[in-house]
Symmetry: C2
Subunit: 216 residues, 2 copies
């Protein structure tokens, strides 16, 4: 009966509903503002209720990431293996950017969840289909995987005006005598720091390297 008073909470609580609320909170407020208490509030529920469905904050976060992974669209099977991998990896970056959780992900956690394994299966399948040995395919996928996640975590998507100003200040304060190449690169323009074609350049280099160094 008292359920009537609880907005959208008429439907039963499930792991899935909680994970979805967690993911929405993540998308809206980011990882820093994410907390069990806030997820619970979003669901009009006591904070402790969540612990009946997830053993810890980390576990809930993993479930949210898993849910996000399900959003990764797998590439159509046409085209060269390079085109297919490019499409898959670019789509992974898109989702990683949409839900800024790359920073939380631990190596052995959500990477092995069923959602994340969809992309791994797709990637391995493309590589093996192209003639890669099992072992090379594993290593090649790890490389591609490391690259997308690293790019998502360590390259800013776009700079705000305040960030751009601060960056300019820092670069201007640099010692051109001690750091000549850095200074030259900085002078050449800070937009190279964030440009999304930087992602494409690295990806192309990796694909070319794989072609040269594997059994493909």
């Amino acid at each position: 009966m008292y359920d009537m008073a609880r907005g959208a909470t008429m439907t039963k609580l499930t792991q899935g509903r909680i994970a979805a609320a967690a993911l929405a909170l993540l998308e809206r407020d980011g990882l820093d503002r994410f907390s069990m208490r806030r997820v619970a509030a979003e669901l009009d529920v006591g904070a402790m209720t969540l612990y009946g469905y997830f053993r810890s904050k980390d576990e809930l976060l993993d479930a949210a990431v898993d849910l996000a992974s399900a959003e990764i669209a797998l590439p159509p099977s046409g085209g060269t293996w390079q085109e297919q991998l490019r499409s898959l990896v670019t789509e992974m970056l898109r989702v990683l950017r949409a839900y800024p959780v790359a920073h939380h992900i631990r190596a052995r956690g959500p990477m092995l969840s069923s959602g994340a394994l969809r992309s791994t299966e797709a990637g391995l399948s493309i590589l093996v289909g192209a003639g890669c040995s099992q072992e090379d395919a594993s290593k090649a996928w790890r490389l591609l995987f490391t690259y997308v996640f690293g790019f998502a975590a360590f390259t800013p998507a776009e700079l705000s005006d305040a960030e751009r100003r601060e960056l300019k200040l820092r670069l201007a304060g640099m010692d051109a005598t001690e750091l000549p190449h850095v200074a030259a690169a900085a002078a050449a323009g800070a937009e190279a720091m964030t440009g999304s074609d930087a992602f494409g350049f690295g990806l192309d280099a990796i694909l070319a390297g794989l072609e040269a160094r594997t059994s493909i």
Copy 2:
């Protein structure tokens, strides 16, 4: 006078001493257990004292990372550009593993600190020295940089026995029908997931790709 009672705290407090204490704490207890209050306790000082030297926890963390970056040994100038880059990047991975902070690093923070820029300067210098254009060198360095940081953040250094057991369980629970390639790779052995030669494989592929795709 009261200073006499404070263990190692005779010397004056400075940004450097605080950053060193922070880094030591990071190394000993990891990022999760890192807190302003604990750093302060380590220095036998009130927590609020630190705010006279750093504006926030993030700023102190940045300074600690900067200090760690200074530990990266730059490669000797002999050898091919590939050998030099391999040596530099491998050394970066070593330091990133010694101080498990890769996960905290934000794209626009410590990457621009003077300590971190030492490695960037060295990397750009090797690339330009090898005949790379300014622009290609920037992009190539970003790729290498993304790879080391991504590898440090997303590949476990080594698995504990408990982790190995859990991994095995998860892999055994996988659906070989839906994920045939993942299952095959898993059967081939989980040690490929952590093997440090995975780092070498990726690095070699990247170097080969750079050779193929830049003005080098």
